[in-house]
Symmetry: C5
Subunit: 332 residues, 5 copies
């Protein structure tokens, strides 16, 4: 079990609920967590930063977490999954990284009989809406059990994808407008490539998340009540909707890339055709004037009275004839 030395030192936040009373501490110690848990009630421990293996080890001891699950917490490139262990459910999720757009960070969650543990790579704020609702004594989250709390946390994670997806959608629509109008710069290909990368990253996070939510809904566990399952179905629906959006954007992006390349190629071909035709008309004419620029002693035409205008007329005739021929073949 190794930890990324570059990761920041962990901070431990705890929320403890018992008989309507709420204790919230933003930076606390493992000792305090152990003490709160022993009082009974529901405990939510949120660890931000994975820089200290010792913290993981001690929390694992307090809550009897499985060795393999703890190892997964420390390795931050997992794909989302749900694993049943006798003492707890273990979930790996991925959230969009607010500081590195287009990347995700790992978020692990342990769901036990009376506790929820969350581990984030960096100090994030995607749980702030949940904390806010917890402070309202009349809120549903205070009355329902630990499974509802876990639902609320997952809901917050999934909802955080929507603004990012909408921003991506707006960018794609702006690109579409410029591509359809034919004013897209060459860099638009690069932008579409970046959009595609972001879609790939989001899909890697969301596709297995669908399985995770489905697994949790179907879980053969007393820990998740029937009522909470209805709410989990709602989160599941959101994930499916996000995947639907992703798929849509992917197809739109592919179609735009094709359209842009096709338009660019057709437009360039138009340009080349016109330019080549100009060149083609003048090349025979230039040959003709070259002929009468030769310095042969004996060139009867040169001494004709109307040689010069005659040649000009002949050249005009050649030019018009070529234009007509181009038009007849449909090149103009």
């Amino acid at each position: 079990m190794q930890a990324d030395p570059a990761a920041p030192r962990p901070t431990i936040a705890v929320v403890h609920m018992r008989e309507g009373a709420l204790t919230e501490e933003r930076e606390t110690t493992i000792e305090r967590v152990r003490e709160l848990r022993e009082r009974g009630g529901t405990t939510w421990v949120a660890v931000a930063g994975l820089g200290d293996v010792e913290v993981l080890r001690q929390l694992g001891e307090v809550f009897s977490l499985h060795r393999l699950a703890l190892e997964d917490v420390a390795h931050t490139h997992q794909r989302p999954k749900l694993e049943d262990y006798p003492e707890h459910q273990f979930l790996v999720l991925r959230v969009l990284d607010p500081t590195h757009p287009g990347e995700t960070e790992q978020l692990c969650m342990f769901l036990g009989d009376d506790f929820v543990l969350t581990f984030e790579e960096h100090r994030g704020d995607c749980f702030d809406p949940v904390r806010h609702r917890l402070r309202d004594p009349s809120s549903r989250i205070r009355r329902n059990g630990v499974d509802y709390l876990a639902y609320a946390l997952m809901d917050a994670i999934v909802d955080a994808y929507f603004p990012a997806m909408e921003a991506l959608g707006d960018r794609l629509e702006a690109v579409e407008e410029s591509v359809v109008a034919g004013t897209a710069p060459a860099a638009v290909v690069r932008e579409l490539h970046e959009a595609r990368r972001e879609l790939l990253v989001a899909r890697r996070a969301l596709w297995p998340l669908r399985e995770v939510m489905a697994g949790l809904m179907r879980a053969d566990s007393a820990r998740v009540t029937t009522e909470t399952r209805v709410y989990l179905r709602d989160v599941y629906d959101h994930v499916v909707q996000l995947l639907d959006l992703l798929e849509n954007y992917r197809e739109l992006g592919a179609s735009l890339t094709e359209l842009h390349l096709a338009s660019a190629s057709i437009r360039l071909n138009e340009v080349m055709k016109v330019l080549t035709m100009i060149a083609t008309i003048f090349i025979p004419l230039t040959f003709v004037v070259g002929v009468y620029g030769m310095n042969f002693k004996h060139m009867p035409e040169l001494t004709w009275r109307y040689g010069y205008p005659a040649v000009l007329l002949v050249m005009l005739g050649i030019a018009l004839g070529m234009l007509m021929w181009f038009r007849r073949r449909g090149w103009l």
Copy 2:
């Protein structure tokens, strides 16, 4: 639960059937709805416009609708789905938006033991055929139960896709004719892109709708009679047929895009080849006339008696030789 402030204020229409008597009111109040329902019989409430959250809340109270389902009504970007709640089935469907071609609006339906509720984003008229049939006292829709009414509404929704799909098919066939004839303008790529977008939108609406209809046919619920299930199979068939059409148009569109690009590129290449050959023949000739345009004192050819016609003959020979060489290599 938020509502789109830009959405129009809702109007509530109600149809109430009891022992053969029909009450139809195009604009009514929630109080009146509550009163009609308490009389027994079958009630269909059609809400058009989602601009007022209060209306949703009150209707939810009258018919005991589930909180999560009501939230889905207010969020108008859902994908079609079917959800079983104890008190009712909840369906999200999507209809083609008559005012914005190529977009869909959300249509939600609650199917209870004695009521059907429909929520549309805007004042639509896709249910007019159903209203018309309801006014005929001898029609099947008056005799059968609430599930048959729900079937009739869904049938009307699905049937409304056919004219739009046929219009799209006609456009694609027009495009095909021009592409095959080689007279398609450059903008045809753009038109094919738009057709592809419309197909995407329709597919997003219809693909999950298939699942919804299949789910309703198989639903383990006493609310849907065996007879109605036969009718639902018919709607299911229509959805499958629409998807089949979509798939067909998608393939046709892809094939046309390819054909157009291939034809355009082949035609342009023909043009470029001919033009380049003209240029290529004249370039050596222009060089030759340039040679005899040099002003060297000592150029014996210039003083020859037949220098000029000889050079003309030589150039004719060069031109013919190049043409023959082109032909031999199959470039002509």
Copy 3:
């Protein structure tokens, strides 16, 4: 229930078998059909032409056909399907339209306990082999029941696809030969597009037909005997084989399109390269001769004794140098 007004007036043909006796009437009336059926035995009614809704209605009454199935008969753009109704099995099939190559027409079949009904859009002749076999008193089709008759009809429908597929295969092979030989004209792209369209049409008819045959083989119905199921498996195999052929032709067509475009582009590129090189060699030479065509008073070279041959030699050197450079860079 509407009927296509452009469809021809229906003709009704009937075949009635009872205790070895065969009655065959090519144009008969519904009254006669009713009379024959009441005698007992097996009745096959073949309706060609859907121009009269009344005929459908009356036949529906005689044989107790389901309303929804009759509606499907009248709508001629159904995809193949199999539907179980209490009184009969209902099949929608599609046959290749002999008068419009590359299109299919709808063929509906009702299979009851003692009758088979077939409805064709136009007067077709794909059942003629079956009629022929029926006239032979010793044939299996006379001895076996109504399900075997239905099998024989379906077999005839599926077998009618083979010649069309073989013709398409022959056309593709001719295209392949010309493409591989490099002699394919530009119109070959169009021909491949048409082949692709025909494949699409055939696939739309055959893909769901496979499901229909599989459904009939597995059907939980006493109407289909175990022996006939073996024969249906044979029809199923033919459908799978046709789909296999289609898939093969589709891949071949795609590969040929690619090969043709690639060959055309490579060949054109060869042409352009050679031509451009000719131009490129002469352009510097033309510049040189232009230099000595200038009319400056003071150009010492012009008066040199061997200026002219020297310049010719220099130009020869330039030309050879460029050719060597081209060759060294592998462009020649």
Copy 4:
């Protein structure tokens, strides 16, 4: 039941094993086959050539073969399949045709309680290894039953694909080397197309063969012992491995086609760019020399003492300026 008149006259070979005694006859008659079979023991009849329907009919009588299966033997374009009949299992397989590379011929097999019948289109030799092993009295094939004999025959058929696949792989690797080295001739596209065709043919034969082998392994039949099933799994593995190879070659072929086209296009573009630049530098220079080739009476520069060298310098400057501009824009 028709037979291909072009097919060669059949020869009948028989192998008969009983209590350790082996009778092998390379060309025999149906009468002799009937006689051998009546002695008991295991009989393997190998028919090569399908030119005589009568042979099929008589063998069908001797071994009670099903009419539909016999028809399938006579139609030589079947795809591989396995069919259970009460009296025997019937298999259609396809072997690579040694005389027509890139094509397959049909091989049918009947597996009864005490006999194996094989029907080949032409006189083939793919069973020679099996015959060889049969002649060794201590070999497993002599001790085990008729199902093991059938396994040995199928194993020989599948093994015969490996050398062909390896040859194809070698050809593709040679193509790859030349494509990566950039020395591939234009004909390489054609060769890749042919490889693709051969892969298609092999896949058509092998893909359904996988199903056949799986079906035989799972067959609910006492004819195949548990021990032989283990051996069949081995054949199944070989088929899967062949399909894996095919898929690999298909991807490799596609990648090579792309790489070749991309390389060719990039190389050509390089050529065109350099050539066009040469032309572009000389075109303005040619214009300049043209200016001083004009015959105006009053052109002061022409009489300047250093007019000529000045113009040469100016042109040198233009050429260098353009080169620098090209370089600055990254075109060089």
Copy 5:
């Protein structure tokens, strides 16, 4: 059963554990293996090098290995699979070949009640971490049974893929940077092709490995304890994660190839457009100067006082006019 004569002579290493005691011998004989096994406890025999068929045969006798499995060991182009035999499970795996990057070698494993046998093609070192852990008396691998040992070996094999995948990812990212920056050389297409090949090789090894791990987890065998199954799930997860990475790299590679070709083509088109425009402007001008270079006796303009400057002005006008026309049509 043949062996590759080019394969090195096998070395046999044995590890024997019994009641906490560990015997490890790096090069031993089959006799010694037989002796150790007869003592009871757990035996792991690791054979490296397949050059001697006799070794296989004798080991097969000592551990009662199945003939077909032994044949598979000798044929080194198997795809990963899991086969249940009565006496043992047999696994074929593939490891990355350290000496030939981009290729895999076969690794076979037999898992019996009290033994693990591994066969490698060459002397590999991917099991060194396991040997290291075995030497620590307190390690889990010493306490758990033979199935845990097998897990540890498989884990080592799968983990060895990660560094290779990461190296590939780094190379792709470097390629991406250069492609996006537009500085990628032409050879980048070749590099992307090589990456694609390596991905193909890895996928061929990993895709069936997933099935193998899933099969082992579900295996209906007392040989694998419930605890070890949890660990196997971990290996399974790693394989899925590797496949996810592969898929990602595949999509990235495809996107990069497209982007590179599109950028190259767009950039080249830009170049060609500018160059062609330069040529196009000068071609009419060159024609004009050619006209006044003609040697006609009677060309009035030549004698005009301001003929020369007038022509220069006219040419300037033509050049500016063409530039303006280009700009108006959006070509500049």
